[in-house]
């Protein structure tokens, strides 16, 4: 086992990793930027070292200063948390070269899953369904029409080199394809310097369901159930739960199998998450794999009783996975991300000093946070303030517990996403499990949030 782990992150996840190390009897070293001098992770770690000014590129992304700190403090492993350097294959490689264990997958696996287009091809070749569509880039109308016929309508045309919605067109029928292709291609060429596009089936109301996996690099890959993360806004998750409500046992088995296969294909080790879109009751499509621990990992921990961060550390130290083949799932867990944002004003960040901070508690409630009364939220980093996780014997109990916990939670001085969560938890569609990725846009009454 490791003697000392350097935690290359901040906020609640740095605190979470320190806690896991403590329970394993491992010493902890933290890094921090000048903006985080008074942060909780700095206080809790056995040692802390300032590695740069506030801007992340000069501190939490400053590889030379991070590696120098690891060497000076004698750390034998680095935990990257999520974000920052967690999915940087170059950083994982540098750790390898410096003989410091990177607590995560090998650089090759990060690289293979990091190129989303290549990953899509690789998965398809390995028999894992991806969103149906064209194979390679489409350059002329004839190819577009042929791909349209194969894919079916509605479909979406996307820029091959693109992102951010530019060069993207939703097409309802074959009659509109020609015009949409020309427009999308022209837009893509203007925006990205390449008019190449590809075609994907347009999923109207998919759910986002992901599978937590653990792999020990000795041939054992286990799937630890799924999480439904459909409640999101602009591709940012807000509320996650496990198990996914209303999923048939057959589809669930297929998801877990596909996730294990995806991990095996890239020679994965450590903790990872395979993300899928689920359509209707029968269809699953691979979208991507996150090669790190995720924000919403506590949801899985609550229903499995497994400490994922400790498992990550043990696997990195070369231990075998010692979990039973058939994981026992207990009850239902929901996580609400409490962000320092104003949901009534288009999620405007709300940094500043927290004047009051009274945590909820009682049966079934867990809060992972780095905040405290008097803490000033720096404007330089993400707005996640706390993760409230509620566990219940069933979904109804978990929802009731979450509602009462969020009402107990007192945060003064900054705006938070709590009012939005309360509205979601009160929604009849949510109660019935009718959750799709467009839920927030379709079911949340932002006008009512403004009145509160």
């Amino acid at each position: 086992m490791f003697d000392k782990v350097l935690i290359v992150n901040r906020g609640e996840i740095a605190v979470r990793i320190i806690r896991a190390c403590r329970e394993l009897g491992i010493r902890t070293a933290a890094v921090y930027s000048e903006a985080d001098r008074d942060a909780l992770h700095v206080r809790l770690a056995d040692e802390a070292f300032c590695i740069g000014p506030a801007a992340a590129r000069d501190s939490y992304l400053n590889i030379p200063n991070i590696m120098a700190t690891a060497e000076l403090l004698g750390a034998d492993a680095i935990h990257p948390g999520y974000g920052f350097l967690a999915e940087n294959p170059h950083f994982a490689e540098i750790c390898q070269d410096c003989k410091i264990t990177f607590i995560g997958p090998p650089p090759e696996a990060i690289y293979k899953m990091g190129d989303k287009a290549a990953a899509r091809q690789l998965m398809r070749k390995s028999g894992i369904p991806v969103v149906p569509g064209s194979l390679g880039p489409i350059r002329d109308e004839a190819a577009a029409i042929a791909a349209g016929k194969n894919t079916g309508y509605p479909l979406v045309i996307k820029a091959a080199a693109g992102g951010g919605g530019r060069g993207m067109r939703v097409v309802q029928s074959a009659n509109d394809l020609r015009h949409a292709f020309v427009a999308a291609s022209r837009e893509a060429a203007a925006a990205f310097g390449s008019g190449d596009v590809y075609i994907e089936k347009y999923l109207e109301e998919p759910r986002h369901v992901e599978v937590q996996i653990l792999a020990d690099g000795r041939g054992t890959v286990v799937a630890l159930g799924e999480r439904d993360c459909s409640i999101q806004r602009r591709h940012q998750k807000l509320l996650e739960e496990s198990p996914a409500v209303g999923l048939s046992p057959r589809l669930r088995r297929a998801l877990l199998r596909a996730a294990v296969r995806a991990a095996e294909v890239v020679g994965y080790t450590n903790a990872g998450t395979v993300e899928f879109l689920v359509e209707g009751t029968n269809h699953l499509y691979f979208i991507e794999m996150n090669t790190r621990i995720q924000v919403e990992h506590p949801v899985t921990e609550m229903v499995t009783g497994i400490d994922l961060i400790k498992e990550q550390i043990k696997i990195a130290a070369g231990e075998r996975i010692s979990l039973p083949r058939d994981i026992e799932y207990r009850g239902h867990a929901i996580e609400c991300r409490v962000n320092a944002e104003d949901p009534s004003r288009d999620f405007l960040p709300s940094p500043g000093q927290i004047t009051a901070f009274v945590l909820p508690g009682g049966p079934g409630i867990r809060v992972d946070t780095h905040a405290f009364a008097g803490y000033t939220i720096p404007a330089h980093y993400d707005s996640l303030l706390a993760k409230v996780v509620a566990w219940g014997r069933d979904r109804d109990e978990a929802i009731m517990r979450m509602q009462r916990a969020l009402r107990e939670f007192e945060i003064g001085g900054v705006q938070t996403t709590i009012p939005l969560h309360l509205q979601i938890l009160d929604n009849a569609f949510f109660h019935r499990g009718e959750v799709y990725v467009n839920f927030v846009r379709r079911r949340v009454d932002f006008g009512r949030l403004r009145e509160v």
Binding site: I51, N65, A68, E71, L73
Partner: protein, 155 residues
């Protein structure tokens, strides 16, 4: 750093205030892990802090930005990177600078070693070295004061 290794900043501030008000020139306090020497420079006090075997924490950096330091006219040369502080290019070589030496802007004052790379650190100010704050061979963090420089022109 562990809680018990941390030198309480409020205590430090209180000591500086005490030294500044009292009719003394120097105040030395020694704890289990930290030794603090507060030396009054003319009218104002400046704090000089030597850390023990433990890697340097925030105390030195904070001290430099503390009330006493901000009031005085000495400019710190701070570590622009994480590394091991060396005063000379080789163990048997002369230090780049001594207390009392005049330095020019851009003149190498020390070396910070990180990952087997020896980085020459230039002074960002011209003046006279008043005090060498960091200990030779110590690990220094980003922003930690290494030297105090009196930027006023030599008399």
């Amino acid at each position: 750093m562990t809680q018990n290794q941390r030198f309480d900043l409020d205590e430090l501030r209180a000591l500086i205030r005490l030294a500044a008000e009292a009719d003394i020139e120097e105040l030395e306090v020694e704890g289990a892990h930290v030794k603090v020497r507060i030396k009054k420079a003319r009218a104002v006090a400046s704090a000089v802090l030597a850390t023990g075997a433990s890697p340097a924490g925030h105390a030195p950096a904070d001290t430099a930005h503390g009330p006493a330091a901000s009031e005085q006219r000495y400019t710190p040369i701070i570590a622009p990177m994480v590394g091991t502080f060396y005063r000379a290019s080789k163990p048997d070589a002369q230090p780049f600078v001594q207390e009392g030496d005049a330095v020019e802007e851009g003149q190498t004052v020390c070396i910070l070693e990180a990952m087997k790379l020896f980085n020459e650190i230039p002074s960002e100010v011209a003046g006279r070295i008043v005090s060498i704050v960091a200990e030779n061979g110590a690990a220094v963090e980003y922003g930690q004061p290494l030297f105090l420089v009196d930027p006023s022109p030599a008399v």
